[in-house]
């Protein structure tokens, strides 16, 4: 039985259809239910819905053999896992954004509000800029509006939220998409099944 952690929400549902097409079907999962665990004996899989930012935890700790997580989460938490495949769905960008009229003063420490402290710290240290991280958990766009931060580092999908708050993208740090990940030990003991999923999904992504 292969345990698969899927991110709750729209992305998870999209990714499930890829697993379904790859032959790992479990129709119950799309039923309108509050259940978190769905099993299909005939397909040999057990799916569970978890908070998107927790998928890497379930996989790293072996509760799930494989899972689907955003590149943002993988880079932020750097879990000890295998990153097997770029599924090329859930595409967005990790960006630096600020108020439209923002002019950076290189002479003062840059105040950065973000949910992604590790990614922000790594990016600014790569360009040698001194920063002050303001860790937030949501509504990041508010920080520069209220003058609490100079910029934000956050995920941008369409840019609508930024625009509505008078912000715009200044730099793109990296592109983001969903990745198929695997626990390292599970890969050794369930190699054939995991490779089957990887190969079938890879063919789907390429098509």
């Amino acid at each position: 039985m292969l345990n698969i952690a899927l991110p709750k929400g729209r992305l998870g549902e999209k990714v499930y259809t890829m697993f379904d097409k790859a032959g790992f079907r479990c129709p119950d999962i799309l039923s309108d239910s509050r259940k978190l665990v769905f099993e299909s004996i005939s397909s040999g899989v057990r799916y569970f819905w978890v908070k998107p930012s927790d998928v890497t935890v379930y996989v790293e700790r072996g509760a799930a053999d494989i899972g689907v997580a955003g590149k943002d989460i993988i880079d932020e938490y750097t879990p000890d896992i295998y990153e097997l495949l770029d599924l090329k769905v859930g595409k967005c960008r990790m960006c630096v954004a600020a108020k439209k009229d923002f002019r950076e003063n290189p002479d003062v420490t840059l105040r950065v509000a973000t949910k992604f402290s590790t990614i922000a710290r790594r990016y600014y240290s790569s360009i040698g800029r001194e920063i002050d991280i303001i860790p937030l958990n949501g509504s990041i766009e508010l920080a520069p509006v209220l003058g609490m931060s100079d910029v934000i580092v956050d995920i941008v999908e369409t840019g609508t939220t930024l625009k509505e708050n008078g912000l715009e993208v200044f730099q793109t740090i990296m592109p983001i998409s969903a990745r198929l990940i695997s626990n390292k030990a599970a890969f050794e003991f369930k190699k054939d099944e995991i490779l089957k999923i990887q190969n079938r999904m890879s063919a789907m992504v390429e098509a």
Binding site: G62, E83, K184, A186
Partner: protein
């Protein structure tokens, strides 16, 4: 004197430690006992060699900065002298102390392992690989030893001039991310062929025989390939697999790198390899190979799930003749049972049998 009839009840990890120790000593490895403390300087210069860069430090009575030992290998390397035409074989089971990078809390971790230091040749390398495999099969019937070779990886890395790209490629290799290696071709078109070869190493999942044949075709470094071939031929193909995603830090590791997994434990339980470069960095001439088994990772796997806390509960009351009660308990223990003498059974205690010696309660004397 312990009662010789008493069964020795060992915890799962303790049994493994004893089994590993007797395995290692049967190959001539000599147990080595270390101090819990070392001068911090030893670790400061070789932080990348440690699993976690965070070392727990304190000041000793004359003001020297000391560390709670976060690693065993560095201490052993320092204590072993270079011997020409010979090797020192050392094994250990020790606790090491680390700061968890995630939670920032202190952790005490039980480790067992061995180091072979000196004029290490193919025989010693093969012997250590065999011992790594045997260590895993001692722990569990379902285990996997992955073997990679830094000599082969590095030969392909030579075609990449930018150290930044090389580092990214190595990091992608260790997370089995073939696409990320190939995508580096855009940044470094001149290293296209090398990256192609690394991506190939990353995606090899065939049998050892197939992988060795592929490596031959790819033109892998011949000395390293020969070494890998010989060692792998001495291992059980059901347990040992060639897998290049096991990558060691290039500042320290130069030859084979091992990782061991057992079913039911989510992370590697064994890790090691050939680390001549660590000795070079310490100004030494010897070569070295070794591995460690992380016993704390096995705690859950080997967890004792006994049905009962004790075999027999012996109940007595105030009027009982103490000597008689103790005699009775001893007789039961000599019959191989564990016995708990109590005046009252506490809530939640799980016992197989209850013997009530209470005279006042008119209890049974079974």
């Amino acid at each position: 004197m312990p009662d010789m009839n008493t069964k020795i009840e060992l915890k799962g990890e303790e049994k493994v430690i004893m089994a590993l120790r007797s395995l290692y000593t049967s190959y001539g490895y000599r147990p080595y006992k270390m101090s819990r403390f070392e001068e911090y300087d030893l670790y400061a210069g070789n932080k990348d060699f440690l699993v976690s860069g965070n070392v727990i430090t304190f000041t000793d009575t004359d003001g020297k900065l000391m560390a709670l030992k976060p690693d065993v290998t560095l201490s052993i390397v320092r204590s072993v002298r270079d011997v020409r035409n010979s090797v020192s074989r050392i094994c250990y089971d020790e606790n090491v102390y680390r700061v968890s990078d995630r939670s920032g809390t202190f952790r005490e971790i039980m480790q067992a392992g061995l180091e072979c230091i000196g004029d290490v040749g193919l025989l010693e390398l093969a012997e250590v690989a065999v011992l790594a495999q045997k260590s895993l099969t001692t722990i569990s019937e379902k285990s996997v030893l992955t073997i990679s070779h830094m000599g082969i990886i590095e030969a392909f890395l030579k075609g990449i001039s930018s150290s930044e790209i090389a580092e990214e490629a190595i990091s992608a290799l260790s997370s089995r991310n073939t696409q990320a290696i190939l995508s580096l071709q855009q940044k470094a078109p001149e290293a296209s062929d090398s990256l192609e070869s690394l991506a190939h190493l990353c995606s090899m999942t065939g049998s050892n025989k197939e992988v060795l044949a592929e490596l031959e075709t790819m033109g892998a470094d011949s000395t390293s390939l020969k070494e890998l071939k010989t060692v792998v031929s001495l291992l059980d193909p059901k347990v040992a697999r060639i897998d290049f995603t096991a990558v060691g830090g290039m500042k320290y590791y130069n030859g084979m790198v091992f990782r061991g997994y057992v079913e039911g434990v989510p992370a590697a339980v064994l890790s090691g390899g050939q680390y001549d470069r660590l000795l070079q960095r310490m100004g030494r001439k010897s070569r070295a190979v070794g591995f460690a088994v992380y016993l704390d990772a096995l705690e859950r796997l080997l967890e004792d799930r006994r049905e009962f806390d004790v075999d027999v509960v012996l109940l007595y009351d105030a009027s009982a003749d103490i000597a008689q009660v103790l005699k009775r308990a001893r007789a039961l223990r000599e019959g191989g049972m564990s016995v708990m003498v109590l005046r009252q059974v506490p809530e939640g205690l799980r016992y197989r049998d209850l013997v009530d010696l209470g005279t006042k309660r008119g209890g049974r004397d079974a």
